[in-house]
Assembly symmetry: C2
Homo-oligomer: 501 residues x 2
């Protein structure tokens, strides 16, 4: 269904049937309505649109400015999210005319050369499990998930667009306050003027384990992340609260119009967090310029990104160049739409405003490794000592994590598909206080199970310090976006395969 309400813009004479004929517009004129013009036009197919009024409300932010003055088609081939009726309808409401046939080649607008926005994307480690290349979405392999601190090169990558071109010296972060005042900081400003802090924090994509939801319940929209849409690193930078304070913003006595801190990345991604989290002394929100002791890799936000520990990774905006203290949440689609959950009965195109944007995450755990350890082959003979005698065992390992800085207090493992349970050993990877003010890092766990007790299916569930636990089934927690899958992780066990989850 097209909406023709804007056809009154058309100024051309009627066609042969006496209907008003669309205005014919030369591509040279379209080109004059680019980024810096008074009004912005685009073409799609052979139709021309004046989208000036739409730009401020574009869910994807200012990235739309890349396309103005030319054809949007190439961009929509990259950002295929646009290819749906709802978007077509919006676009049609801005229709002003057709491309003059003089400029058409074989009836089509010639494809301009557009700068490939992905040209700065770095080479990636071959061990990453790639779900999509453009934008890059790649999960950490299970072998690497066994490490408490994930190496930079195998840290999962979840990019919403390309990796923007940034530089250490040229990059600035603009802080905008509710009264409209702005302050600009370079990376060197951050390093020179604020206390440097390091925290160990786990980032998790809201789509982590979506694959399991799709397999155990129904198909959900989005990439089929398995257990590796999560990683853990040591982040070094400065506290956002310190910077906000430096601008003169009253962090200890928040004005009524300061409810959110919005973040915008250099590639145009945007998201926000509640201001209380942003200024919380124990919230540990950082502008981070180092990851595991090295400069941030390009894939992870070079030269600076936000780290919002305990919060869904979608709020830890990479390549951040703007922080806006505002009364409203970020207008981006990633705040207003994608990162939300609805009930199992809701599908299609719900009223997105009825669900809150994901911030804290629910308690989660997964099995990342099953290893047969036999007295015949192993060098890990110490693991074979079970119940005071040596026997073949299965070593089961994985992670557990809860949002909001809540610690993991227990991991229950079942060797019989969920009928009976025992407690896995929680590994103590951090000394008290090492990781920041709360439990921002995942908890690794391990259980060594005598081979004869391994009954075909291992199941794990974790308990956080509020004694929240994971749901057993998938269908009652199904949501059509497949976000925050946290139902019991079940892994089939086949002896002697030495299998990995």
């Amino acid at each position: 269904m097209f909406i023709f309400t804007s056809i009154i813009h058309a100024e051309a004479p009627p066609n042969e049937d006496g209907e008003p004929r669309a205005r014919q517009i030369r591509l040279s004129e379209v080109k004059q309505h680019g980024r810096n013009a008074e009004t912005q036009w685009i073409t799609k197919g052979t139709r021309v649109y004046d989208i000036t009024e739409w730009i401020p409300g574009h869910p994807g932010g200012e990235v739309i400015l890349r396309a103005v003055g030319g054809a949007v088609d190439s961009y929509w081939n990259i950002f295929t999210i646009h290819k749906k009726q709802e978007v077509y309808d919006i676009l049609e409401s801005y229709y002003i005319g057709d491309v003059d046939s003089t400029d058409l080649v074989d009836g089509q607008v010639p494809v301009d050369h557009i700068d490939d926005p992905f040209e700065n994307d770095p080479a990636r480690d071959e061990r990453l499990m790639i779900h999509s290349q453009r934008p890059c979405n790649a999960e950490t392999p299970t072998t690497e998930l066994l490490k408490f601190v994930t190496p930079n090169e195998t840290f999962y990558v979840r990019n919403h667009m390309w990796v923007p071109e940034t530089s250490l010296k040229g990059h600035t972060i603009t802080i905008e306050l509710p009264n409209g005042e702005e302050r600009i900081y370079t990376i060197q400003d951050l390093k020179d003027n604020f206390q440097e802090v390091s925290i160990t924090a786990t980032l998790q994509c809201s789509g982590n384990r979506r694959k399991h939801m799709t397999e155990e319940s129904r198909s959900a929209d989005g990439l089929p992340w398995s257990v590796g849409g999560i990683s853990n690193a040591v982040w070094t930078g400065v506290r956002l609260r310190d910077i906000l304070k430096d601008t003169g913003f009253p962090i200890d006595d928040l004005p009524d119009d300061a409810k959110h801190a919005q973040f915008v990345g250099a590639e145009a991604y945007g998201a926000s967090i509640p201001i209380d989290k942003a200024v919380d002394k124990r919230g540990d929100v950082l502008l981070a310029y180092q990851m595991n002791g090295q400069s941030l890799p390009h894939d992870h936000g070079f030269p600076v990104r936000v780290i919002v520990p305990g919060t869904v990774a979608a709020r830890s905006v990479k390549w951040v160049n703007r922080v806006v203290v505002s009364e409203e949440e970020s207008p981006s689609q990633w705040q207003q739409r994608d990162y939300k959950c609805f009930g199992p009965n809701v599908g299609g195109n719900p009223d997105w405003s009825t669900a809150p944007a994901i911030q804290d995450m629910p308690v989660q755990s997964a099995i990342t490794s099953l290893r047969d350890i036999s007295s015949q082959f192993t060098q890990e003979r110490d693991l074979l000592q079970v119940n005071e005698r040596e026997e073949d065992v299965v070593a089961v390992e994985g992670y557990a994590f809860a949002g909001g800085g809540r610690s993991i207090v227990r991991v229950d493992l079942s060797t019989d598909g969920g009928r009976s349970w025992h407690q896995a050993e929680l590994l103590k990877d951090l000394d008290e206080g090492e990781g920041g003010h709360k439990a921002w890092a995942w908890t690794r766990w391990r259980s060594v199970v005598p081979r004869h007790m391994a009954g075909g299916c291992f199941v794990v569930k974790a308990v956080d310090e509020a004694y929240n636990t994971q749901p057993g089934e998938y269908e009652p927690c199904y949501n059509f976006r497949g976000n925050l899958t946290s139902s019991w992780h079940k892994v089939t066990y086949e002896p002697s395969a030495g299998s990995e989850a």
Copy 2:
């Protein structure tokens, strides 16, 4: 098994068989070892114990001093928790001799008159569902659970001992700091010198819904609370953080030896919370002297109690007369033992230190009312308008609540035992900001279901703002103390009964 290691105290000559004979002690001598003596003795049966060294470690606190200088038997008949081998063993290690036979009547120590500690217990509303009278444990009836603010007289009562004798003028609160300094405040001091604040907060007993765990899984220790071990009230008082600040304690720069705030009640109950919660500006921890606009009722802590919103009610100590800022948690049994959860495989007498004391609670919901509404009988005709036509309906109502100040974002209701779900309406009982800094109050919900869709069993589950949800089954979440039962609440529906849950 008795432990005789302390029999070396005995000074009596050997008996006929040449074994050392126990020392014979007159009751008049026992009486001299009372509360204010240098050493404290008690009798149990015909045996005498010097428990001086034990008193500081008594899990129940100083209440033990009520018994010293006489027989403990009557107290153990009240506090039956003592009647187990572990306690007998401890007591025997303090054995010093036997009651002189001269003082025995029919071979027994005559029962002293002891002051009935429950003599101050108030009369209670007849609508409360009494689980135990001494101490009083009584739940709110389901009709009263339909109100957003629970009236004082039907607010659930969970007393661990008697209601102590207190007075508005005589009551003081002593604040003890880590350096040993103390400051004493009267109720009038609180009212005169600190900002008065009101918050709406729900208190929930960790045993709420234990009945369901026992019925659906296995028997659990403790009283069989149904859905009414929870209530909601408006609490008025002063912020604990303001008082701590007034003592000179550095609430914004906590010293390393300040990790917990312990609370002691006038009847000797004790518990603690993390110091971060106690001083958190957004934590809203109060010393409250009003409940729903009236002086605190005696059953609820007159003249002053702690309110720790979002935290298990066991930390909201009633009749509080002492606050200790300390490096350690409260030594009481209610902090060190009872209010903890273990895995479903753990029973008996576990190593209690391996589980953390319950503070925040998991997401919870329950059905409190099922009402048949028929066009023949009802005055609530507006509820019959479903899908644009009038039909007979079932009105399903209840509450949802999450610990830690996390709001409820969704309540899913199933009319077919959990196979399919729809969303209940969440009632907006509070305007923004009315309830304190976070979501401390429960969320009432309602769903009006066409009668023909009510399929025998209603099931409810809630989702909190971190998208934690309740587990479906009971057995995988079983814990032998029956704490924090939060599995899906299922209520069988029989049409036309007009039944209430």
